[in-house]
Subunit: 242 residues, 2 copies
DNA sequence: GAGTGGTCTAGACCACATT
DNA sequence: ATGTGGTCTAGACCACTCT
């Protein structure tokens, strides 16, 4: 039987992990090793108190936090169980272009090619859930990493939600950041495709030849309403998403 | 001054919220109303104990949970503060290929082109954190949607963690699903690139001409160890990630 | 009734930061 | 020295489930 409290005594210079963290590690270790498989009923709090010599509140905190994190399931009056193998969603975090660039020490710069109000075309109207022909704000940016173009941003913005869009400053803050600042509860949906560059993309991204590009279509929602829709084009040979 | 404990007495039939939940609501209400703006320093635990007539452990639990949820920031020896407006990460959920296909009513099918042990080459060894030349399991699958190839899966698997890999069945369950079933605590990291198809990819995906493809490099981790690394190639004109 | 988890308390000691 | 948050205890009462 291991000594759970030993760290307090014998290693005064290694920062001792809190007891509740030790309990969490102990449980996770048993889960990793396969000792406690899915649906396994853990020893009761009272049993752990006895076996580990730790007070119930501390045991309870450890188990509660593991439950909040999704590792365990607890049923009052019944017991504590290893959670069913969660079909865990594999998520990819899309970082802001500025963060990607500054993350490897690059200098971010944004060219505004145009920024205007225009009547919205049919395709974009469907995207924005607007009626075709109504006025929409449209912007065309090229983002550069130490001068090299790494992203083309073709964006529609709803005048209703962001009437000040045409007057904003984009050289030091991206449109995405502006939107997130204004609307704390903004949510996003994405569609990712691959495509080869056409003449327009080659021109704006200063590509010499046809190149494979990642295209991210991002919609930004405020509840049921679309605030903005953007097409982000990354030349595949100059950048990778991680 | 409101009576925080009153629910216990006067409303025996409405389930009284736990005290720590009441404290959390109290704090959130002050944040929402603008009374406690970003960076505002909250009353100390001791002050809240006095003002609310609730024990410190309970106050502490409420503030700790709000901190874990990102609403507050706590600095030992200094105080508790309303967190800065968080710039929320934009995440993309990568669904399993089977789910994508069955999601639009397609029939998923998986061809095993090979499944063998081989000495690991230098590049792959770095990927898997193995020593070059050691044995590794390698598989080459083509996933089809109603017969049409939609993904090439080139995968390395660590024999140490999954010695049974060569004997498994992949026509009705993907390697990813097998891995997730076996290891509940598997985590993943991804790198996404765009590339044009080469002769090999054209052959396996039955492409007529050079095509832009999305390439997802997925590493599956068990703590610090790499259990598997896969290169997933999607022809950009046949599928889109969402 | 016995066993489980959920909450709460009053006090304690500690690590850390500021004055 | 004072005030802050971080942890831990020993015990209590409760709600719930199962037998």
């Amino acid at each position: 039987m291991p000594h759970f409290k030993s760290q307090k005594d014998d290693r005064p210079y290694s920062p001792p992990k809190p007891l509740y963290e030790q309990v969490k590690s102990y449980v996770l270790k048993n889960m990793e090793s396969g000792e406690w498989p899915a649906y396994f009923q853990l020893p009761s709090e009272h049993t752990l108190v006895r076996e580990m010599g730790i007070s119930r509140m501390t045991i309870h905190r450890a188990l509660r936090e593991l439950t909040q994190a999704g590792y365990l399931e607890r049923i009052q009056g019944v017991g504590t169980f290893v959670a069913a193998p969660k079909k865990q969603p594999k998520t990819l975090e899309l970082r802001e272009i500025e963060d990607v660039i500054s993350g490897h020490g690059g200098r971010h710069q944004c060219d505004v090619h145009f920024l205007q109000e225009e009547p919205i075309e049919k395709d974009a109207a469907a995207l924005m859930a607007m009626t075709p022909g109504k006025g929409v704000y449209r912007s065309y940016f090229v983002h550069r990493d130490n001068g090299l173009p790494v992203m083309l941003e073709d964006r529609y913005v709803s005048p209703q939600f962001m009437p000040e869009y045409l007057e904003m400053e984009f050289t030091h803050m991206t449109a995405d950041t502006h939107l997130s600042r204004k609307f704390a509860l903004l949510s996003h949906s994405h569609v990712i495709q691959a495509a080869v560059s056409n003449a327009e993309i080659n021109h704006f991204l200063e590509l010499e030849a046809t190149t494979a590009c990642i295209v991210i279509n991002r919609k930004s929602w405020l509840g049921e309403d679309v605030v903005s829709a953007a097409r982000l084009v990354f030349p595949g040979n100059r950048i990778q998403l991680t």
